[in-house]
């Protein structure tokens, strides 16, 4: 079962996404910000990380920077964000993430990216 870590500070959103992915057959774990995300990566060892950008404490960009230099750097990251401008996407991709999904997204979008980039189980 593909393990997906969802990092988002919005409780309703992260829980809805988690519920949706669980319902469609993924093993899901959630974190409320970048810092929690980093610990969850270690604990949960996901196959892919779906991460928000604008979060308190450690934001998505900060998370990606630290994750890149961690033991688990091989776990791919997809950014899921309300920052919709071209330059935001360019910056995000420049950090080495696999994909940049704008909010609001469709399930189809999300599923496509997961199946495309998640490390094989």
């Amino acid at each position: 079962m593909t393990k997906v870590l969802i990092i988002d500070d919005e409780v309703n959103l992260r829980e809805t996404i988690a519920e949706m992915l669980s319902y469609t057959g993924y093993h899901v774990c959630i974190a409320k910000d970048g810092i929690e995300g980093l610990t969850k990566v270690v604990e949960f060892q996901p196959n892919i990380i779906i991460c928000d950008v604008m979060m308190p404490e450690l934001d998505g960009y900060g998370f990606v920077e630290q994750h890149k230099n961690s033991k688990y750097a091989n776990v791919p990251v997809v950014l899921l964000t309300a920052k919709v401008e071209q330059k935001d996407e360019e910056y995000g991709l420049s950090l080495g993430v696999k994909a940049y999904i704008r909010k609001p997204f469709t399930f189809k979008d999300l599923q496509e990216k997961i199946s495309l980039y998640a490390n094989k189980v």
Partner: protein, 533 residues
């Protein structure tokens, strides 16, 4: 002879033929000379050592009005105009000393009628075999006519010069009057910039007495912050002979600074710069107005920025709840598909409406954000040379190839590899919106046509649909914000699409046109200048 009786007669004969002949010849030559003398068109005279007239000819009598008899009782000194006598006597002396043997002179004689007669006089001395002067031969040409003309010319020129001088004085007076009475400050400067003349207007402008500034330097009155540029300007007017116009603050007699605009230019005399003049105007009012405009602009900019930030914040902040709602709706749909609700169909329909409306709000938010960003001058614009055919293909393949109703874009490139200089993102956005409109308003009316071709130095893209069209009277309003055609009911839209299309097309140096017929279809035309190397 004896007793009075002649006793003998002594006769001597001498041949005098030769003498006679010589005498005759002399006589003849004398006659010839006399003839030449008397009938000469020049006035001629012989004057003796005592300056007396010995012989004059008719012409001479004619020129000076005296008879031959009267001449004989006169010396040339008697009838020479006093002012010209010295020169005449000096020449005579030189002749007597043997320094010269002739001279020429223009002089005035006193005519019998007391008038003065200008003549050209040539005098040569006739000497005997011992080299002593016997008499003088004088030749006289009447030049009074010429002299009169010369005099007239001279008088005329003098008159002219006098008039010129008068005019100059008058002009000077006018200028002075102007300078003295102008509201602006008018100054004349030495080449070291020190004041040479200062118009009285300085009194009312800066409170100084014009006299107290003479010899002083303008920079002593310039605001320290303006001093550098002012000195540079003064330097350049003298060095590079440039005019200058500069705004500077000048200190008045109370120590306050006032804004002035000063214009200066060099003053030349015989093509050499001798000074420069400046004309200086109080621009306090203008500066105030400029300040107000600047403040207003700044305020507007700040307001625009605030609005953009607000819109941007709203857009960000709304996006997450929208996402939650949309995702929830999708999740509900998933649940429904695996359950046996009686009202499953109705619920599904409602959920679909929720999703559609969320999409609409998001679309509207995006459009408002785009416009507000552009209002604040924050649209990113990075034009490059790009291939328009490729961009069209790309947009169509990415977004219009898999239409739900299986419709397509029929593409006709009449020109290949058409290059324009534009921002690719803006062009793509524009094309996407034009094509998306074409599909949206032509459901069930066949494919959408895209033609690309060049006309002169322009490239034209026509996007043609056979849809519902737009009422004629509404077409001009379509490019306004939030305007939607009256027949667009039931078709979702923001009312901002065409506004943004126009905005982006303009940014890319292009133009957009629209032709439409109600019930028949719409053609949107985009034109861009072709890229030239």
């Amino acid at each position: 002879m004896t007793g009075g009786e002649a006793i003998r007669m002594i006769g001597a004969m001498q041949d005098i033929t030769q003498e006679k002949l010589l005498k005759d010849e002399l006589l003849q030559s004398e006659e010839r000379f006399k003839g030449a003398f008397n009938h000469s068109s020049l006035g001629m005279a012989l004057v003796n050592y005592e300056d007396k007239w010995i012989e004059v000819n008719d012409r001479m009598c004619e020129i000076l009005g005296y008879t031959r008899e009267e001449f004989k009782n006169l010396t040339y000194i008697d009838i020479t105009f006093k002012e010209d006598l010295a020169a005449d006597l000096a020449y005579e002396k030189q002749m007597q000393n043997g320094e010269i043997s002739s001279f020429n002179l223009e002089k005035r004689y006193i005519h019998k009628n007391k008038s003065l007669v200008w003549v050209h006089l040539s005098v040569s001395a006739v000497k005997n075999s011992l080299g002593e002067i016997q008499h003088y031969v004088a030749q006289v040409i009447d030049i009074s006519k010429r002299k009169r003309m010369e005099e007239e010319n001279r008088l005329l020129i003098e008159e002219k010069n006098r008039n010129k001088a008068l005019q100059l004085i008058e002009a000077k007076n006018w200028y002075r009057l102007l300078a003295d009475n102008t509201i602006d400050l008018v100054c004349l400067h030495n080449l070291d910039a020190s004041f040479k003349y200062v118009s009285p207007s300085i009194q009312s402008l800066l409170g100084y007495d014009p006299e107290e500034l003479i010899g002083k330097y303008p920079e002593d009155y310039v605001h320290p912050e303006d001093l550098k540029k002012f000195k540079k300007r003064i330097g350049s007017i003298i060095k590079d002979k440039e005019l200058f116009s500069e705004q500077v603050r000048l200190r008045n007699s109370e120590g306050e600074y006032i804004w002035f605009e000063t214009n200066a230019s060099l003053v030349y005399e015989n093509k050499i710069p001798v000074s420069f003049q400046s004309s200086t105007r109080d621009i306090t009012q203008r500066k105030k107005a400029e300040q107000i405009i600047e403040d207003t602009l700044l305020q507007e900019r700040q307001l625009n920025e605030l609005r953009t930030n607000l819109v941007s914040t709203i857009s960000h902040e709304f996006r997450t709840p929208m996402t939650t709602i949309r995702t929830s709706a999708e999740l509900i749909t998933m649940y429904l598909q695996n359950s046996q609700f009686n009202e499953a169909l109705q619920i599904e329909k409602r959920v679909k409406t929720i999703t559609e409306e969320i999409d609409r709000i998001v679309e509207l938010m995006d459009a408002v954000l785009t416009i507000s960003k552009d209002d604040a001058g924050k649209t990113s614009f990075n034009p490059i040379v790009c291939n328009l055919n490729e961009i069209c293909k790309d947009v169509i393949e990415t977004s219009f190839n898999n239409q739900k109703d299986n419709r397509n874009v029929d593409v006709l490139f009449k020109s290949n590899k058409v290059e324009i200089f534009a921002d690719i993102n803006l062009i793509k956005y524009t094309l996407f919106n034009v094509l998306s409109n074409a599909f949206k308003y032509s459901e069930g009316c066949g494919n959408v046509q895209l033609n690309l071709f060049t006309v002169d130095d322009l490239v034209q893209i026509d996007v043609i649909d056979n849809g519902i069209g737009i009422p004629k009277e509404e077409q001009s309003k379509l490019f306004n914000t939030f305007y939607r055609a009256s027949n667009s009911n039931g078709i979702q839209g923001t009312g901002l699409g065409l506004y943004i299309i126009k905005m982006f097309t303009k940014k890319n140096s292009g133009r957009v046109y629209l032709e439409s017929e109600l019930g028949k279809g719409t053609k949107v035309t985009l034109r861009f200048p072709l890229y030239k190397n």
